[in-house]
């Protein structure tokens, strides 16, 4: 393998990217291209009572305004649970500010944008739930039919009661993290083209799950998969944000409805309001340790704000919980995690997939414990850190490539950490 691993290679598409020749979705043009804009929900939690698009349709240059009335048989979509509507219909609910009410197709970007303002919307407002703790109250209105707790997972290893009984010190704290946008530099964009003869929809659009996205679009439109073709251009960053459907189905509808090539590019604001975020989490951690600095028990309750739709929440929130002890050996662990619907922008995948939030909690717990025990926090970490043979909270034996102790030692060395004086 010498010559491959450890060697530098020039990136295959770097030349196209430094010359500006690489084609990203928004760089694709057709002569008879139409521009698409989406009318979003004016309220984060409300019933749609009236939707009047007539003024928008009358605006010169507007080719088509699509609403749920035009496509009553569309299926919901989603990565794990199909709970997200393509278009909110009359009498249906909007659950966050990114929900789509209408799709405007026009001769220019400017006309499409102006048409959005001409669409009249009447809603019946409901209580807006922005806090997952409120969403979990018995008297909270249900955002989805089956209630606000999307999914609950449990974790049990050893005997935490015994572990806490054997502890000399127990630290119990609550940690909260915030929404973070992955913010790939290229906003969501794509071009769609419908070939009437073959019935194939071509989409030039970025995705992190090409075949899953193809399948999800197809089931949503009620088409066989071979009628949806996705062509992946250069991708201007993803970081988890491009796992979810964004412009895809709206582009397909616009292309089918007009028979012309269509382009939809989100503004940065639209990207922030509409597409996934890193989950805000409430993490309640209880950790026990002995006087000489060995962890005996760790208990955690995790509440992840899923926002309006499930996206990757069923996987992200409990993965976070599984990492509740970080890279430290703990014999006795118990956990519960809830992914909870709110009317916030939905949460999904982002680098780390739930573990990043947890790191804030477990490393804070480690610092507080070290401080209370009068131990050097680096030494305290080192003596509890995983080694080959360690058993993770969810029962995985770490059989190879466990380098956390070396990493800590190297970090001590590189940062010139002198330790804390224990008085």
């Amino acid at each position: 393998m010498t010559g491959i691993v450890g060697s530098n290679f020039l990136k295959v598409d770097a030349r196209d990217k430094v010359t500006g020749r690489a084609i990203y979705p928004d760089d694709i043009y057709f002569d008879d291209l139409l521009y698409v804009k989406v009318k979003r929900a004016p309220h984060p939690h409300a019933y749609l009572r009236k939707l009047d698009v007539s003024k928008a349709e009358e605006l010169p240059g507007v080719v088509k305004v699509i609403t749920a009335t035009d496509y009553p048989d569309l299926n919901k979509f989603g990565l794990i649970i199909k709970d997200q509507p393509v278009l909110v219909g009359i009498g249906e609910k909007m659950r966050y500010l990114g929900d789509a009410l209408a799709i405007v197709v026009a001769e220019s970007r400017e006309i499409a944008t102006r048409a959005l303002d001409l669409i009249r919307v009447e809603v019946e407002e409901l209580e807006v739930i922005s806090d997952p703790l409120r969403a979990m109250d018995d008297d909270a209105p249900a955002i989805h039919e089956d209630g606000n707790i999307l999914i609950t997972h449990y974790l049990d290893k050893g005997d935490v009661e015994k572990g806490f009984a054997g502890a000399d010190i127990i630290v119990e704290r609550e940690y909260r993290t915030q929404h973070i946008d992955q913010l790939p530099l290229q906003p969501e964009a794509g071009v769609g083209l419908y070939d009437e003869e073959s019935g194939v929809i071509k989409l030039w659009v970025a995705t992190q799950w090409l075949h899953d996205t193809q399948a999800d679009i197809a089931q949503s439109l009620g088409l066989p998969r071979e009628k949806v073709r996705i062509i992946q251009p250069a991708i201007g960053g993803a970081f988890g944000k491009r796992e979810d459907i964004s412009v895809h189905i709206h582009l397909a509808l616009a292309a089918m409805a007009t028979g012309r090539p269509v382009k939809l590019t989100y503004t940065r604001e639209e990207s922030m309001i509409t597409q996934s975020k890193r989950h805000p989490m409430i993490i309640r951690a209880k950790t026990g340790a002995t006087k000489d600095g060995y962890l005996t028990a760790w208990q955690v309750e995790v509440i992840g704000d899923a926002g309006a739709y499930a996206s990757s929440s069923p996987a992200v929130v409990h993965k976070g919980m599984y990492h509740c002890t970080g890279p430290y050996n703990v014999e006795n662990v118990r956990g519960v995690s809830h992914a909870v619907y709110t009317n916030n922008t939905y949460s999904g995948a982002m680098r780390g997939f739930g573990t990043t939030q947890m790191a804030f909690a477990y490393e804070s717990q480690m610092d507080i414990l070290a401080h209370e025990l009068g131990l050097d926090p680096a030494q305290f970490r080192l003596q509890n850190a995983y080694q080959v043979g360690s058993l993770t909270p969810n029962g995985q034996v770490l059989s190879r490539s466990v380098n956390v102790r070396e990493t800590i030692k190297k970090a001590i060395e590189m940062s010139d950490w002198k330790g804390v004086r224990v008085e």
Binding site: N8, L10, K11, D13, A14, R15, D16, K17, V18, T19, G20, R21, A22, I23, Y24, D26, D27, Y29, R109, E110, L183, P184, L185, Q186, P187, A234, I235, G236, G237, A238, F239, T265, T267, R268
Partner: protein, 171 residues
């Protein structure tokens, strides 16, 4: 309305409107799509071009403001056969990831190296402070600028140093 602009050395007459941004004119009308839109607010630097010798965010320039201007976009650097040394340096230093920020980064690097052929790390960081990379590739981008400075010193290609500079639109 009609405006005249010189883009990458070529004089162009373009039909435009008072509300068209220079960014849209370059992309939609001239199909110079190397200039990117990341935020539309002059924050991210993806739409950076050089206008009358100054770095500008082309999303903040209205096309009539560019009437008579000389503009360099990423397509104006190097030739089909031979890349600009700055472009070469970006490839060799591994500074390119998703690439969406790279046209703006390369142009900001060009402007920096024209004014300061041997910048230190702090000066490089300041020179690129108007450009955001979200793949977090900054370290290698800084390496690329250092490498470009070396290459340019070697070839004597300190293009444009001392060129007259126009007003307006600067970041």
């Amino acid at each position: 309305m009609k405006i005249t602009i010189t883009v990458n050395g070529e004089k162009r007459e373009v039909e435009t409107t008072p509300s068209t941004r220079l960014l849209d004119l370059l992309r939609d009308d001239l199909h110079l799509t190397g200039t990117k839109e990341g935020c539309g607010k002059g924050e991210c630097g993806a739409c950076t071009v050089i206008m009358n010798g100054e770095l500008v965010a082309s999303c903040l320039v209205l096309s009539p403001q560019a009437d008579g201007a000389e503009i360099t976009t990423i397509e104006g650097l190097g030739t089909e056969e031979e890349l600009d040394p700055i472009q070469e340096a970006y490839i060799e230093a591994g500074a390119v990831q998703c690439g969406f920020c790279i046209p703006g980064m390369v142009l900001a690097s060009k402007k920096l190296l024209e004014e300061n052929p041997q910048p230190d790390e702090g000066e490089i960081r300041r020179g690129l402070s108007g450009n955001i990379c979200r793949c977090t590739g900054y370290q290698k981008i800084i390496d690329a600028v250092k490498l470009a400075a070396k290459k340019l010193a070697g070839t004597g290609k300190l293009a444009g140093a001392g060129k007259s500079r126009g007003k307006g639109g600067g970041r």
